[in-house]
Every structure is written in structure tokens, then in C-alpha cells.
Amino acid sequence: MTLASLPLTLVALQVVTGIALGAIYVLVGIGLSLIFGLMNIVNFAHGAFFMAGAYVGVFLYGYTGNFWVSLVVAPVAIGLLGLAVERVLIRPLYGRGPDDPLLLTFGLAYVVVESVRILFGLTGLPFSAPPPLRGAVDIGIGYFPLYRLFLIGFVGLVVLGLWLLIERTRFGLIIRAGARDPQIVQVLGIDIGRVWLAVFGLGCALAGLAGILAAPLQGVTPEMGVPVLAEAFVVTVVGGMGSLAGAVLAGLLVGIVVAMTSLIAPDLTKMAIFAVMALVLLVRPRGLLGRAGAFG
């Protein structure tokens, strides 16, 4: 089956599906990229935090029945976890090579995943979109699941907020300066350690938010973070590390490629993501928007 033989509306709908899927990748990718851009740390526990966020959100939803509460509490909880991790585990590693925090967060992922298994069991929890967001709406080219539309809009707002934070606030100015030269920032009388703490927490919170947002699409299992980690790496490599715009572009691109492949050749869906990365590495190893200045 080729793309041309399919009805145009079906292709268009699948593109929108891809954007919804990409929205998750964008959030995960931005969190990873933010931490890397400022602190030069690759957070290997990012997938585990994503999973933990989904669990916190789904668990809370079981008690409150209110998805909005989950949407707020899950990222806050994972953000706090991130703060604690930075403070207790990662801070002693500053000054060592960039491999050490990476290895540490790799071990941490084991601890987080296994803790979730102990708390919530080995099998996953089923979860579907909350009632007000169920069903489908006509978007002009056909009916589209309401929850996925909500997902696109919500992530759009979050990205806008992040952009404003980084580009338009004093805190964002410090982040951008710190990414370029932490020592100078320190000399100017700013406690860069506190900025690192805050950014690590923010990055983890974004992972948690992505987790609870993804939960209605796939349900939650303790292992759901592993493919997400690999896919987030693809997004950051394709987009260019430390680039906010790159993460958005790459996230959407990967999402659309996945959606299109699942339409044409469902067997190859998983591999298509990595084919995109291989292609980018061959043609433009620094990523689509890499080196345009951190957070450019």
C-alpha cells in the first residue's frame, strides 16, 4: 500500500494523530533537553519518572475521580522527587565527568521501577480518558478523539509557558546564561546550584506530566518508561540537544512518522523512529536545530 492510494482525509487524520503522539514526545524531549542543556547531565531515569508520573496520576484519579487534580499533582510530585534526587544524589557528583550522573540516574531508574512494582504490583493499571474528554469530535476532515485534541492543545500551552519562562523572565535569562557559562553566572553573584536544582526539578516534572498525559492512550505498566526513554533520546538527537525549538520540531516529526508508518507498514512502526534518527545522524549529526545556541 502506498501513501498515494489512501484517501486524503485518512492521511490528514493520521497526521493529526501523529501530532498528538508527538506532543508526548515533545514534553519528554524538552524535559531531557532542559536538564542536559543547563547541567550537561543525561537523565537516564527520565523514562522511570515518566512512568512514576503516570502511576501517581492514575492512582490519585482512582480516589478523587478528578483528572485535573491528577494533571496538577503528578508533575508536582515527580518534580519534588527530582529536587530530592538532585540534592541528595547528583550534587555530590558535580565536578566529576559527565558519565557519572548518567550512570547514577541509570541505577536510579532500577530503584524507581522496582519501587513502583512493590507499591502497585507487577501488572499495569488500566486507564482511559476521563468522561468529559471521551468521545470524538468532527474536526472538518473527519471524527477525531477528543482526548487527543485536548492533548495537543494542553501541550501547546505548556510549551508556550516554557518558552515565555525561558525567553521572557529573569529566571529564564539566568538559565540561558548558565547554559552558556556557569562560572560567569556564579561570579555575577547568582547561586547557580539553586538554578540547577530548580531546572532538574522542572525537567523531571515535565516527565511526570508527560506520563499522566500519556496514561489514557496506553494504560500504565512499570515498564512503560523504557521505550519512552529510547524515544526521548531519539527526539533530542534529532532535534539537537539543549534546543527547545529542536525538541518541539523533532517530537512532532517523530510522532508524525510513527503515525504514518503505522498506516502504511504497521510492522515497521517501532523501527521507523530509529530510521529517522539514523538519517539525521548521517546528514546532520548535530541535530536539526543543534548548536543554534543552547535554548535558541
Binding site: 548518567l102 531519539v234 530509529f274 534518527m277
Partner: protein, 343 residues
């Protein structure tokens, strides 16, 4: 292949026996292959049971191959499960589907791992530093899905079953692999040969260039070395060692589970190398023994042993970055140097 890349390296002094130049430790270091083999030959005497001892041997070789990149070239890969898996599947498919002789199958498995490593390395070495870990992880997941999908050859989700090698037929003799002691020493012959080759590679000018790249990539490049090419060659050699480990594992376990290729298996190589000590020759074997004994012991206590393994690993990163064997060597070196013992 490595000869031309390492050609100009003849002037670089070998880093053998760093520490006290004439110390006993440095002298012992010259016999690292013999000492390693002696330790591994005696290991079954203390191992809890032989199947575990063979596992430690095989995964030690896997960690050794990984450590060529991480410990010596400073490249942290999270994709080495692809090579272990390619070696295992290559060997297993050759035996199950084509009925080849185990020796030919081991050769084929290693060859497949080399091919996978060449393809992955070609892409991965385009990225530097920390990107490298992410790229290798992502590429190995791609290999994982490819083998998962190729169900007719690999058995897909169920793994490749029925790799039965009851005996290794050689001209004149037939070695019964069902006897666990015989199996251990047959595997040790392969692992021993690999250890010898590994030591030769490290002692060669090529090995010196690898360490130069680890210490300062820019300077190595400025000295005229084709850094990308050296990295690619190292990547492929590393993949070959891991592929051999995979082939031996397939024969040992008589099954190749799909998890062999999973990201978690790549992580195990990282853990084992770090637990043992990445800057040491024998560390990966110490690390493999530690990891597997830990896993074996903890699994009898709790099904959540991964929590403890993760916590122990975190503690190592924080407090014991040299690893167990690295720490032992560092202490011995201090003892060696302290009383002015060097003649």
C-alpha cells in the same frame, strides 16, 4: 584494518605498568593474561554451582568487550546488548536452522555481531561524548525490534529454542558438554583466547591511541590520528568480543531469549564493568562475578532484587567509582609504593 589506523602510533610509549615503575604490582601486571587465566581456571572450586560459573565466564567476556570502549577509549555505550544478541542469534540460528558444527556456528555468530557493530558504529561515532550513550541505546533498540519481528528466523517473542549441543566433536575427541565441568573448561578455552587477544590489542600502538582519545580527543586528533576511524575500529572489535560471548551463551543456555538484546542487557554490561572497575584489565570478570552472585543471592531473598541491585549500583557510583577490583589494585599500589619498596 587496525594496523594502518595505528601506524603512526609507534612513538607513543605504552602505558603498561603505570604506578610504581619497578614495583611488584607492575611486574605482576606484565603477566596479566596468565594471572587472569589462572584465576578463572581455579574459579569453579569456589563458585556455588557450575552453571553459574559458566554464566560468569560468558558475561565477564561480555563486560570485557564492553570495557574496551568504556574503560580504555572512554566511550560509554548503552547498546552492547545488540552485539551479545547478534552473536547469540547468529550462533543459534546456524545450529538450529542449518545444523552447522558448533565451531562454525560460533564463528558465524561472532561475524554477525561484527556486521551489526560496523553498521551501528558507523552511525554512532558521528556523535560525541554524552550523545554517544543515547545514540547507541536508540540504535540497539532498533536492532532489538528488527530481531523481534524476524520471527521465522529468531522465534520472535518466544526466543530461539532448541540449540542442543550435547557434545563438541573435534578431530579425534568428542567433548561432552553435558558435563558441567567439561563445559566450563571448553568455554574457558574460548574466553582465555579472547583475553590473550584483548591484552595484545591493549599493548599494541592501537591500544595506546585508544587511551589517548580517552584522555584528550582533541589532542589525539591534532597529533594526526584519524580519531573517527580508530573509534569505529574499536567499536567493531568491542562488538566482536561481545558477539563471541553471545555465541558461547547461546550454546551454554541452549536458548536465546529475546531479552538478550534488550536495553536492560546493555545496562548489565555497564553495571558489571563499573562494579568490577572500568580502568582495570580483570575488573569486568570481577564485576560479572559480583553482579551474578549478587543477583543469585538476592533473588532467593526477594523477587524485588532489582531494587537492591540499583541501590548498590548507585552507592558504587557515589562512593566507589574505581570499582571493587580497581579499589583493590589502588590499595595494593599504595602499599607497594609506601615503604619505598621499589628497588
Amino acid at each position: 584494518m587496525s594496523g594502518s589506523a595505528a601506524g603512526p602510533a609507534r612513538a607513543v610509549p605504552s602505558s603498561e605498568g603505570s604506578g610504581a615503575p619497578g614495583g611488584r604490582l607492575a611486574r605482576a601486571g606484565r603477566h596479566r593474561v596468565a594471572l587472569s587465566l589462572a584465576a578463572l581456571a581455579l574459579f569453579p572450586l569456589v563458585a556455588p554451582y557450575e552453571a553459574l560459573a559458566v554464566n560468569i565466564l560468558v558475561l565477564g567476556l561480555y563486560a570485557l568487550g564492553f570495557n574496551l570502549l568504556f574503560g580504555y577509549a572512554g566511550l560509554l555505550s548503552f547498546g552492547h546488548a545488540a552485539f551479545l544478541g547478534a552473536g547469540a542469534y547468529g550462533c543459534g540460528i546456524a545450529i538450529v536452522q542449518y545444523g552447522l558444527h558448533p565451531l562454525a556456528a560460533i564463528g558465524l555468530g561472532t561475524g554477525l555481531a561484527v556486521a551489526v557493530a560496523a553498521a551501528m558504529g558507523y552511525l554512532a561515532i558521528r556523535t560525541r561524548g554524552i550523545y554517544f550513550a543515547m545514540t547507541t541505546l536508540a540504535l540497539s533498540m532498533c536492532v532489538y525490534y528488527a530481531f523481534y519481528r524476524a520471527e521465522r528466523l529468531t522465534g520472535g517473542e518466544n526466543g530461539l529454542r532448541g540449540i542442543n549441543v550435547p557434545a563438541l566433536g573435534l578431530p579425534g575427541v568428542s567433548l561432552p558438554l553435558l558435563d558441567p565441568t567439561v563445559k566450563y573448561y571448553v568455554v574457558l578455552v574460548f574466553v582465555g583466547a579472547a583475553i590473550w587477544l584483548f591484552s595484545r590489542i591493549l599493548a599494541s600502538p592501537f591500544g595506546a591511541v585508544l587511551e589517548a582519545i580517552r584522555e584528550n580527543e582533541g589532542r589525539a586528533e591534532a597529533c594526526g590520528y584519524d580519531v573517527r576511524r580508530v573509534k569505529l575500529v574499536a567499536f567493531v572489535i568491542s562488538g566482536a568480543f561481545c558477539g563471541l560471548a553471545g555465541a558461547l551463551q547461546a550454546i551454554h543456555l541452549s536458548i536465546v531469549p529475546i531479552e538478550t538484546m534488550h536495553y536492560a542487557t546493555s545496562g548489565e554490561a555497564v553495571m558489571m564493568a563499573l562494579l568490577g572497575g572500568t580502568r582495570t584489565f580483570f575488573g569486568p570478570f570481577v564485576g560479572a562475578a559480583t553482579f551474578l552472585l549478587l543477583q543469585d543471592g538476592l533473588a532467593t531473598l526477594t523477587s524485588h532484587w532489582q531494587l537492591l541491585v540499583g541501590a548498590i549500583f548507585i552507592a558504587f557510583v557515589l562512593f566507589l567509582p574505581l570499582g571493587l577490583w580497581g579499589e583493590v589494585l589502588a590499595r595494593l599500589r599504595r602499599l607497594d609504593a609506601a615503604p619505598g619498596g621499589a628497588p
